[in-house]
């Protein structure tokens, strides 16, 4: 009821004000993105004279050269592999740990949980040099695992917290019913906790995947063979290589963010909910 009354009472003036303001901000967001995508179709000269408008001649080769080259796909595959492994390990490892915090009473449980929560307090950058030395000493430098393992470790604090809060809110009687039915802790985890935690698995996965997919500093420090680079590193190398040939760089940027944009629009509800809930609940 309240919604309809606000609609009815909204004057034409308010309406204009709303749409003009919102459109202005939307333009500020979209113009850089659209000019980037369009810029990829232009020649360098065209770009110089006319960065805003449509290309005077559509140069598809800027895009097709990248799409038919190996480099773009290799970087995407690298990023995908790193992100999928990070998500998988984060979900498995943190769900198991969170389960013990939520359901198993043991001495020092609270302190141990706080230990993990310390991980929420500071970014990877803080310990990046000792981390580099550790990865080097473990012989993981320039390998995917040198990126994946620290990413998982730094994601544990938040993931464990999210999982633990979710597990804790499962009704206690469910656990007792399962106990009566003959479940031990591990079977309860497998047959009851996990199947019931799809929403939180989704949240943790989305947050972890987006973080990993976009992550730059860890691969920058841990990887030094270009064939292993994920796309954020690759894009910087590409830009370094092609310097001021902006039309190529723009085409490359467009193609690299395209998967993100497509997935975002397809699964916007889940992604927005996941990213904001992930932040708010932790």
């Amino acid at each position: 009821m309240t919604d309809t009354t606000t609609e009815v009472r909204m004057t034409a003036g308010t309406r204009v004000y709303l749409y003009v303001s919102l459109s202005l901000v939307a333009a500020l967001v979209l113009v850089p993105l659209l000019t980037t995508a369009l810029g990829g179709f232009k020649s360098l000269g065209d770009l110089r004279i006319n960065p805003f408008g449509l290309p005077s001649g559509w140069i598809w080769s800027n895009y097709t050269d990248i799409l038919f080259g190996e480099r773009y796909w290799r970087q995407m595959t690298n990023s995908l592999f790193i992100a999928v492994m990070t998500v998988f390990l984060t979900v498995v490892v943190s769900a198991m740990a969170a389960f013990t915090f939520a359901h198993v009473k043991f001495f020092g449980s609270g302190q141990l949980m706080n230990y993990f929560l310390v991980g929420l307090m500071f970014p990877v950058a803080t310990a990046i040099l000792p981390l580099f030395i550790r990865i080097r000493d473990l012989g993981l430098l320039d390998s995917y695992w040198g990126v994946i393992l620290p990413q998982v470790a730094f994601g544990l604090g938040m993931s464990i917290l999210l999982f633990r809060n979710y597990f804790r809110n499962l009704p206690d009687e469910l656990f007792q019913a399962a106990f009566v039915d003959g479940c031990g802790y591990i079977r309860f985890f497998w047959y009851v906790s996990l199947p019931l935690s799809r929403p939180i698995v989704a949240t943790v996965s989305i947050v972890t995947f987006v973080n990993s997919w976009n992550s730059y500093i860890l691969p920058l420090i841990m990887l030094n063979t270009e064939t292993k680079y994920p796309w954020p590193l690759g894009i910087m190398v590409y830009r370094g290589e092609f310097g001021t040939e902006w039309q190529l760089v723009l085409a490359f940027i467009t193609l690299t963010i395209l998967p993100t944009v497509i997935v975002f629009f397809l699964a916007q509800k889940h992604i927005i909910a996941g990213l904001t809930a992930g932040a708010v609940k932790s």
Binding site: E173, L174, Q176, A177, A178, D181, G182, C183, Y191, L196
Partner: protein, 357 residues
């Protein structure tokens, strides 16, 4: 099926003891109800029998074996929870068969037993539904189905009807009774509702403050409550209590209320002259317009018609006393209400110890 024995069971959380040495013996096939006000320890006691709660001291025996260290599964008990605790992600059939699946029973056998239980509980059409698609009563039946599928030694019920509305509660009560008569499994049933306990149980255990007040059949508890607590707890509306002092002679004992009214007592009551007592009179034993050993009267304060019967609250010796009269009996607010009491129906309790005399 098996008997259940509790032997000096205690439960303490740190220094705080909540169950103070409870002993009880439940026979094979018996239906026992544990009743008491909230916080009396009845649920804790049940959970100790189930193996969900550690036993601080004493022993629990099921079928003659000490089960203190056994898990619920090893005790072979089944439990129906207050919130039903159905697995939300499983269908009705999966919920009921989960236990059998965990014990590695073959699929066709699981199916057979689930179907059999479903038939018994009229759940046949619902087997593929998820709990969220069921009504409260249906969920309740699934919870019971889950318990009977496994053919346990003991059924435990933890206030299973308290989440249902009044009408459904009465219906499910009948179903539980029918079920017990059919399968005959030893059952321990926790409830705070004394009517539920009275209607369902072979014997009732009244608990208060972590101790047993009385154990007996429903009628024993009703007719011969051992103390003030049981007398006040069993029966609805609750028994009226009046302070009095014993008067009269050996073969015709009587008690004098504070306002001087004398009430005749049964000759079997072991009372001494001058003893300070509390009299207990059930509302249904205050008979209006009938002859009796004693006739009392007082001003009518409240008239509550319920249809077949009318509850009348009138004043007697400075107390408010409730009586039940026939729905057609004329009573008027403010008028004088007169009721007769048979001497045999007057319960007498020692005022200090609270014990029945």
């Amino acid at each position: 099926m098996a008997s259940v024995e509790l032997n000096e069971i205690r439960k303490a959380y740190g220094a705080l003891e909540v169950i103070h040495g409870v002993s009880l013996s439940v026979e094979d096939g018996e239906f026992i109800a544990l009743v008491g006000p909230s916080g009396c320890g009845k649920s804790t006691l049940l959970r100790m029998i189930a193996g969900l709660e550690e036993i601080s001291d004493g022993e629990v025996l099921i079928g003659g074996t000490v089960v203190n260290a056994l898990t619920p599964r090893e005790r072979n008990i089944a439990m129906v929870f207050q919130s039903y605790a159905l697995y939300p992600h499983m269908t009705v059939a999966q919920n009921m068969g989960f236990n059998l699946m965990l014990s590695g029973v073959a699929k066709p056998e699981i199916e057979r037993r689930v179907n059999e239980a479903a038939r018994m509980l009229a759940l046949g059409d619902l087997l593929d539904r998820k709990p969220s698609q069921l009504s409260g009563g249906q969920r309740q039946r699934v919870a019971m189905g889950r318990a009977i599928v496994r053919d346990p030694a003991v059924f435990l019920f933890d206030e299973p009807l308290s989440n249902l509305d009044a009408k459904l509660r009465v219906q499910m009560r009948t179903e539980i009774k029918t079920l017990h008569q059919k399968v005959g499994t030893t059952s321990v049933y926790v409830t705070h509702d004394q009517i539920e306990a009275m209607t369902l149980a072979d014997r009732i255990v009244v608990l208060n403050g972590g101790r047993i007040e009385q154990v007996g059949t429903p009628l024993e508890l009703y007719r011969a409550p051992a103390n003030l607590f049981v007398a006040g707890f069993i029966g609805s509306p609750a028994m009226n209590f009046l302070d009095a002092a014993v008067d009269g002679d050996e073969d015709q004992p009587a008690a004098r209320l504070v306002d001087g009214t004398t009430i005749r007592l049964g000759p079997a009551r072991k009372v001494k002259r001058g003893q300070e007592v509390k009299l207990g009179i059930r509302p249904e034993h205050l008979l209006a317009g009938a002859p009796g050993d004693t006739v009392v009267n007082g001003q009518t304060l409240v008239v509550e018609p319920t249809g077949a019967q009318t509850h009348v609250v009138f004043s007697l010796a400075g107390e408010q006393v409730t009586a039940i009269v026939d729905g057609g009996f004329p009573v008027r607010h403010g008028a004088l209400f007169e009721a007769a009491i048979a001497a045999e129906q007057v319960h007498v309790f020692d005022r200090r110890s609270g014990l029945a005399l």
